[in-house]
């Protein structure tokens, strides 16, 4: 994992009380970067099977793979 990916993972494993986050929640982790660059970091983590998407159908969130309460007994 590169340094930027590590920043995201550290944030998610830290004490947040939540397992899922909006895209905007990650922007403050990278003050110098625009949204498109931050998206690239998140995408790379999804492709590396570290993160996964959670979708309400209308909105989408990111979380660590397998974190949080299990979805309905799938």
């Amino acid at each position: 994992m590169n340094e930027e990916q590590q920043i995201v993972v550290d944030f998610l494993t830290g004490k947040t009380g939540k397992s899922k986050f909006y895209f905007n929640d990650f922007l403050p982790l990278f003050p110098g970067k625009g949204p498109r660059d931050v998206k690239k970091i998140l995408t790379s983590l999804v492709n590396a099977e570290k993160l996964e998407f959670w979708s309400s159908g209308s909105t989408t969130m990111y979380g660590l793979k397998g974190a949080g309460k299990p979805d309905t007994d799938a």
């Binding site: 909006y22 949204p35 209308s58 989408t60």
Partner: protein
């Protein structure tokens, strides 16, 4: 013999309108028979169980579906909606019943060959039930299980050369009217822009990183057959700048009763003889038309291109030749602060491949909205919160009188410091030399 008794739903089989209950029952029978020896990958009786759980809702007036968020295909954040039944023991066939959205071809033309391929796939790996189409425009495949999602995606991309649509906080599947393909009113090739931008923005469509959903829709003219102005964050609506073309002989054809007005749309009632003065000239919202008994004239400079006269006499009047589109932004349904119609941002833009000018406007808006939009805030709400002026600044568009229906009702203008000579820093000492305390 049906798996579940559905006395209430059975009452929706009578009457002339196509009965979805009859159709689902038919699919249940066909699956039970399995004449084509399909190797069903999800329960054969899921259509029967769907009717069963629906009958339950008809009895208690409540839904029996739950949402499930972590279903999808690897690497994509949209295109699949998770669904679970809250009575899985009674209706095991639909215990897991996820929706797959497939990106429709622009304006929904199909070959029977392609549609049959989708049917075969969905017969084997899904419920055999669909929506043609979802509100946004996708082919909606209604009901499959988690283990089938990657298989469906693999077959769609490998065998059928097609992809999923959008859901969640992303670019939603774009849609267009049928445009120049079969309409004389279309001011640009709506299908082509729709297709090209869908391809160019695949990353935005599949990997959500917006504050909320974002919709493009492309209407070929102000009649608005795909309702872009009412429901898309970014509506491109065809228009023209020059004169409406008039065929005076055809005008006389309408006046003389040779042609049915409004293309025959009023044929079911006797509205009396066509009266060009009352039905066209007097209904023109800008009163820019004249009929002198033999010649129709239009003061095109005053025309606002509402389409009424053209719709009413389509053989006689035609859209101008200097064609393009207006861009309106920020439409949305009422949640949360009330419904919004699209607001005019770009009065006129040429619509030519590769559509770089349109994309430039889109990307400036995204850069701004991704940075400054709040979570779950549609573009229209961001504009309201941060001002239309801010939108003009970020898109580098000069304010014009056409941007408003009327000027502001108050003088509470947020002046910028640089607009005021000398700026906001003033010298209190110097002031006191002129004024006592």
């Amino acid at each position: 013999m049906a798996k579940h008794a559905t006395p209430k739903l059975d009452q929706l089989e009578s009457g002339p309108w196509p009965s979805f209950v009859s159709d689902i029952k038919w699919e249940a029978e066909n699956r039970a028979k399995n004449a084509d020896k399909v190797n069903y990958q999800i329960p054969v009786d899921c259509p029967a169980d769907l009717l069963g759980v629906l009958e339950l809702s008809y009895n208690d007036g409540e839904t029996h579906w739950k949402h499930g968020g972590i279903v999808g295909v690897f690497g994509y954040g949209g295109g699949v909606i998770g669904r679970y039944c809250d009575q899985p023991q009674a209706f095991p066939g639909v215990a897991h019943f996820h929706t797959v959205r497939v990106n429709q071809p622009a304006a929904k033309y199909y070959s029977s060959e392609f549609l049959r391929q989708i049917c075969d796939l969905w017969d084997m790996r899904g419920s055999g039930l669909t929506n043609m189409h979802g509100s946004t425009g996708d082919i909606v495949l209604l009901g499959t299980q988690t283990a089938q999602l990657e298989e469906i995606f693999f077959e769609l991309t490998h065998k059928y050369n097609t992809d999923l649509g959008g859901s969640g906080s992303n670019l939603r599947t774009p849609e267009s009217c049928l445009g120049t393909s079969r309409c004389e009113y279309a001011c640009y090739d709506t299908q082509d822009v729709c297709y090209q931008l869908t391809l160019d923005y695949q990353d935005e469509l599949h990997r959500p990183a917006f504050p909320y959903k974002f919709k493009f829709k492309f209407d070929g003219c102000p009649n608005g057959c795909v309702a872009a102005i009412a429901r898309s964050d970014f509506s491109v609506i065809g228009t023209w700048k020059d004169d409406i073309k008039i065929d005076q002989a055809a005008v006389k054809g309408y006046v003389g009763g040779e042609f049915a007005p409004n293309a025959g749309a009023h044929s079911g009632r006797d509205w009396g003889k066509f009266d060009i003065q009352a039905e066209v000239v007097d209904l023109c919202p800008t009163k820019c038309m004249k009929w002198d008994g033999s010649k129709l004239s239009i003061n095109n400079r005053e025309c606002t291109r509402c389409m009424h006269c053209i719709n009413t006499m389509p053989r006689a009047l035609h859209i101008g030749d200097e064609r393009g589109a207006s861009i309106l932004v920020g439409a949305k349904a009422p949640v949360l602060d009330g419904a919004q119609m699209g607001s005019l941002l770009v009065p006129f833009i040429e619509v030519n491949q590769p559509y770089d000018e349109i994309k430039e406007v889109i990307e400036k808006i995204w850069d701004w909205w991704m940075e400054d939009g709040k979570n779950r805030e549609r573009l229209g709400e961001t504009i309201r919160r941060l001002s239309f002026q801010r939108l003009l600044e970020v898109t580098e568009i000069a304010p014009q009188a056409v941007h408003v229906k009327e000027p502001r009702h108050n003088p509470y203008i947020f002046w910028k410091e640089e607009e005021v000579p000398g700026g906001f820093d003033r010298d209190i000492e110097a002031y006191r030399t002129r004024h006592q305390r």
